[in-house]
């Protein structure tokens, strides 16, 4: 009994010390749910785009997510956080979408295409009619790099896109674009966030293939 007690104390001591002193505990913030963004994101006119997600561990998984934080008047930065299992699972289908937006103390948590915060905001750009006669959103010169940061590529949102997005917001439904261009199945997201969609990350290996690859690599 005495030895068992000592052993338990040792385990508690180890876990306590490892938690306090582990390098992974420093610098990586924890995000319980979307509400936690308020504490992490300080800048105004900010949008947070989920760009990667990963789980480590065997029996007890630890979930990490990588976000691109774009603030209207600050530098673009990438943020890695530890998240809860529920939050990570919930957002598996939200890669490439903006999960959090903050504008003048107003916060939104509905998954929307990246840049939805800025579309229609005259501080950042204006609606223009292109050669085809479509009304499209164009960022001001100061924000000319935003389409690249937002992962739009050559995509230019038009009035139809904007109206459908507003309608989804009013219904509180996630929006993936009129033709589902955004999100894990969307071609714009797949083209502009290639790291997440790399072939080797996507393929699921069965035990036989794993063993064959192991023997090829090692013998």
């Amino acid at each position: 009994m005495y030895k068992f007690f000592l052993y338990t104390i040792l385990i508690i001591l180890y876990l306590g010390l490892a938690k306090v002193l582990s390098p992974s505990e420093h610098g990586v913030q924890y995000l319980q749910n979307a509400g936690g963004f308020s504490k992490i994101i300080k800048g105004n006119q900010s949008t947070v785009i989920l760009i990667d997600t990963h789980a480590t561990g065997f029996l007890i998984k630890t979930y990490y997510q990588k976000f691109r934080v774009i603030s209207g008047y600050e530098n673009v930065e990438e943020l890695i956080v530890r998240t809860s299992k529920e939050f990570a699972k919930k957002n598996l289908n939200h890669i490439g979408l903006s999960l959090y937006r903050k504008s003048d103390e107003l916060e939104e948590f509905l998954p929307l295409p990246p840049g939805s915060l800025y579309i229609g905001n005259r501080e950042f750009g204006e609606w223009k009619i292109n050669k085809k006669g479509q009304t499209v959103w164009k960022f001001n010169k100061v924000f000319k790099n935003f389409p690249k940061y937002l992962g739009w590529g050559k995509f230019k949102p038009d009035m139809n896109f904007y109206q459908q997005m507003r309608s989804s917001i009013s219904l509180n439904h996630p929006f993936y674009g009129p033709h589902k261009e955004f999100g894990p199945g969307g071609k714009i997201t797949r083209r502009n966030f290639p790291h997440f969609f790399k072939e080797e990350r996507m393929k699921k290996l069965d035990m036989k293939t794993l063993l064959i690859e192991y023997f090829k690599e090692n013998f």
């Binding site: 040792l10 180890y14 010390l17 390098p23 992974s24 990667d52 990963h54 480590t56 990490y64 990588k66």
Partner: protein, 300 residues
């Protein structure tokens, strides 16, 4: 050809210099064991007292282990490399003998070297001392290599190592069925094999805890401490597991009717415990040091 011959001459000269350092060590040994002055400084008669021979020459093995960690950098000049070896060799000798003196003061606090070795010729005492010499040498070597020619870091790590070793030797009473003091008085050989296995195992574990990359001394010491605590958690699992896999029958009943010689039975138990301790320790180092969990960064 001339260059090859020159290098051979350098090697021979350096070998002679190492011998000179060991000669100096012989005198340093007397500082901590003044009672052996007569034996050490005159001709040694191994046949007269095998326990004393084992005790003395275990130190020689130990100092050789430590010297093997010091490198000669001939490219910086022959005399400078000799000077470097002399400085670090002297530091090694001092630290090694001081460590041995402290650890033996802890383990043999009830025993006196003169009584046990010189008068009683206690082989059990000598063998335990031999194991201490090897283990301390191995650990001092590890610490010297980790210090990377920094005297301050060496002193910090040496003190830290000494604290861990000091605690670890006390752990024996928790995990062995053999009573240390009583059996040592009886010159019981089973104790020395069991304790030998334990101390060598503890040495492996502690050395493996120190063997890691370091950029910051504080973080390094914390990592060593964490690994040591982790080893304390893993080691009993292996020990219990090995005992379950290889259950032994102490054979008290058979011993009583005279079918097994009681001394041999006891010796066998010493071997058994010693081997279990070493195996469990080596396996513990594998679990503590050889598992790569990776990081999130290759993925992100």
């Amino acid at each position: 050809m001339a260059e090859i011959f020159d290098r051979l001459v350098i090697r021979i000269l350096l070998a002679a210099f190492v011998c000179l350092m060991i000669y100096l060590y012989r005198y340093a040994h007397v500082i901590f064991y003044p009672s052996v002055k007569r034996q050490v400084l005159k001709k040694i008669h191994p046949a007269e007292n095998p326990a004393d021979t084992l005790h003395l020459f275990s130190r020689l093995v130990g100092i050789s282990i430590i010297f093997s960690s010091i490198t000669f950098n001939e490219s910086s000049g022959f005399f400078l490399s000799l000077f470097h070896f002399a400085v670090w060799g002297t530091i090694a000798i001092v630290l090694y003998l001081l460590s041995l003196f402290i650890i033996e003061s802890i383990v043999f606090y009830n025993f006196d070297y003169t009584d046990e070795i010189l008068k009683r010729k206690n082989m059990s005492y000598a063998f335990i001392s031999f194991c201490h010499a090897i283990v301390i040498a191995y650990l001092t070597k590890t610490v010297m290599m980790e210090a990377e020619n920094s005297l301050v870091i060496l002193l910090v790590l040496w003190l830290f190592m000494l604290v861990i070793v000091g605690f670890s030797v006390k752990y024996f009473t928790f995990i062995s069925k053999l009573t240390f003091n009583r059996l040592l008085i009886q010159k019981n050989l089973s104790l020395c094999f069991s304790y030998g296995g334990f101390s060598l195992g503890a040495g492996f574990i502690i050395a493996s805890c120190f063997d890691q990359e370091h950029y910051d001394i504080t973080i390094y010491c914390i990592q060593v401490l964490l690994k040591t605590v982790l080893s304390l958690i893993i080691f009993p699992l292996f020990k219990k597991g090995l005992v379950k896999i290889f259950p032994v029958y102490l054979g008290d009943e058979r011993g009583e009717v005279g079918q097994i010689d009681t001394d041999m039975q006891s010796l066998g138990y010493g071997f058994y415990e010693g081997c279990i301790f070493i195996s469990a320790a080596i396996l513990t180092t594998m679990i503590v040091n050889r598992i790569q969990f990776g990081t999130i960064y290759p993925f992100f």
